[in-house]
């Protein structure tokens, strides 16, 4: 069985930041493994540990910088990684759903996995659409927002729970091959062991450009254009208690007494 995991490097913005044109200024961005993808990696590695002859491959669309993030997956048990980048993707800012799905579809067609795992969404742009779009593109079945997965690595059906709103889960059987988008909390992502980190250094990260996967620059064409990026106006009319922590706590205590939360 082969499992392909879409792994994204995301940008996180510091509490205080400045905007430079249509982006947050680079010095206020930290790059990290997408939180949802960490759970997807764990789900894949657990399936690998549960079955014989299970290969786990990650695929990332990202510049060379993202290799640090990719190695985190390799250190946790991913067998090998593919990184797709191309000059045509530089300067595109946030890639559109269609572009990402087309690139991932090209890799999936090369790799021919039985199962594709992706995070539900990315921390930064939170489109939440790539996994299902990819599934439709490659003709795989899918399930979105999976927070429980029961799959025999030799089996042909994945039994999943989909986390709906309001504390309700939907129980669904999904035929393989399939794409599952993985929700946080489905498992407990492992920390990379020192041994894993050492081993990751010798694992393959195969760099590919668009031509390598049978695409060209037209894949980046999108009718969607970012035209504004700004800090939302604060709508806060909160009364903010000020002073030392003790003074702030005293003011809040007085409020809670006034509200009758605590007597006396």
């Amino acid at each position: 069985m082969k499992i392909l995991i879409a792994v994204t490097e995301v940008a996180e913005v510091e509490d205080d930041f400045e905007i430079d044109g249509l982006a947050v200024a680079e010095q206020y961005l930290d790059y990290d493994l997408n939180e949802w993808d960490d759970y997807a990696i764990e789900a894949g590695v657990q399936l690998q540990e549960a079955g014989e002859d299970v290969e786990v491959v990650s695929v990332t669309i990202g510049p060379e910088r993202s290799e640090e993030t990719i190695r985190m997956g390799l250190a946790k048990g991913v067998d090998r990684a593919i990184r797709v980048w191309d000059d045509a993707l530089e300067g595109e800012g946030q890639l559109g759903v269609e572009t990402k799905a087309d690139i991932l579809a090209a890799v999936a067609e090369d790799e021919d996995p039985d199962l594709v795992l992706a995070g539900v969404q990315s921390n930064d742009d939170a489109f939440g659409a790539t996994g299902v779009s990819l599934a439709d593109e490659i003709g795989f079945e899918w399930a979105a927002v999976v927070n429980d997965l029961d799959l025999d690595p030799g089996g042909s059906v994945a039994s999943v729970h989909r986390e709906l709103e309001g504390g309700v889960e939907e129980l669904t059987d999904v035929e393989l091959p399939a794409v599952l988008t993985i929700q946080t909390g489905i498992n407990e992502p492992r920390y990379a062991s020192l041994r894993g980190i050492r081993q990751a250094q010798s694992k393959e990260i195969a760099p590919k450009d668009l031509a390598d996967i049978g695409l060209d620059a037209s894949v980046t064409e999108s009718p969607i254009t970012l035209t504004q990026l700004y800090e939302p106006e604060t709508e806060s009319d909160a009364t903010v208690f000020e002073g030392s922590p003790d003074e702030e706590a005293d003011q809040l205590a007085e409020l809670l007494r006034d509200k009758g939360v605590v007597e006396g």
Binding site: A129, E141, T184, T225
Partner: protein, 322 residues
């Protein structure tokens, strides 16, 4: 120009977002003097159609296929209906189920897709406002295409009300059963346990700012001091530091206490969906720009590890060693 919006229902009930879609759909249709079509797929479609006949709705399409949501059926039904209605804008909910079919519909119809819209305008071109970086910035994207699909964040528009006498049309989507490769086998309530946070008058709620599992004891001590109930945002439950029945938010419990004290919680939209009905909201967070302050009535912009022990002491309690 025509707008087509897809209603959502679950376990026999139309979800609120269905009526919100009618509102945003009407706004968009008005911008071009066009028509608003709603569609409801599966379940008691005739009864749903009556309820969806709200002000501003021109046509309600009923697709009588299945009892509950199945994305394979929805994708086929929506694409077939799209071909019939030929709308300029296709609106779907940015719900868990919406995100389980909308991207596939957009892909199949080669429509540009923008998700999680918090504002939409059509002034010549379609402009969609959405958030990025966990609500720290808002972006506007323009869609340079004649037709587009947009998913709409629940809770951002008021629900359409009244009745209107919309035309109700039954639509036969001719579902290909061989293309239905997933089967919904049931539903399961989660949470349970011995505490129902939705019944609490006072909630002390802890979020990611608590940093480590052992630090939860600090907030627990505050809850004990106040005779309040302990709850949390999602990351605390994901980490296994508190059970699922303590989670406040879109996928957890919706709570309406008299007082909600949010400690180390930034106020992500999914969390806010669960607690915005609290009568008085108090936030303790180091980041003055955290979205929780847009909602809070009172705030302390300071380190919770200094403020919470001081608060416990202010009530004569003794903060735990952490």
């Amino acid at each position: 120009m025509t707008v087509l919006a897809i209603a959502e229902h679950r376990r026999g009930e139309l979800r609120d977002v269905s009526f919100e879609l009618a509102t945003v759909g009407r706004e968009l249709a008005d911008a071009t003097d066009g028509d608003l079509h709603l569609a409801v797929i599966g379940g008691e479609v005739a009864e749903f159609a009556d309820r969806l006949d709200r002000e501003g709705v021109d046509v309600v399409h009923t697709v009588d296929e299945g009892e509950e949501f199945n994305h394979d059926v929805y994708v086929q039904a929506v694409t077939a209906l799209y071909d019939e209605v030929e709308p300029d804008t296709l609106l779907m909910p940015n719900s868990v189920n919406g995100l389980d079919y909308a991207p596939a519909v957009a892909n199949r119809l080669s429509l540009p897709l923008v998700t999680d819209a918090i504002d939409i305008e059509r002034d010549g071109v379609l402009s969609v406002t959405r958030e990025k970086y966990g609500s720290k910035v808002e972006t506007v994207v323009e869609v340079d295409a004649d037709r587009a699909a947009v998913t709409v964040r629940p809770g951002e528009w008021p629900p359409a009300e009244g009745t209107n006498g919309a035309e109700i049309r039954a639509f036969d989507a001719e579902i290909d059963e061989s293309a239905v490769r997933s089967t919904v086998t049931g539903f399961q309530e989660v949470g349970g346990g011995d505490v129902d946070i939705s019944e609490a008058d006072v909630l002390v709620s802890v979020g990611r700012g608590i940093e480590e599992e052992e630090n939860i004891a600090l907030v627990e001590a505050l809850a004990d001091t106040l005779d309040a109930t302990l709850s949390s945002s999602r990351p605390i439950v994901d980490n296994g530091w508190l059970p699922k029945n303590r989670q406040v938010g879109q996928s957890g419990k919706v709570v309406t206490p008299d007082v909600y004290i949010a400690i180390g919680i930034s106020g992500a939209v999914q969390h806010v969906a669960g607690m915005k009905g609290a009568e008085t909201i108090v936030a303790i967070n180091t980041d003055p720009n955290a979205p929780i302050y847009d909602l809070a009535d009172y705030g302390i912009v300071d380190d919770l590890f200094d403020v919470v022990p001081a608060l416990i002491e202010a009530f004569g309690g003794e903060p735990p060693e952490i």
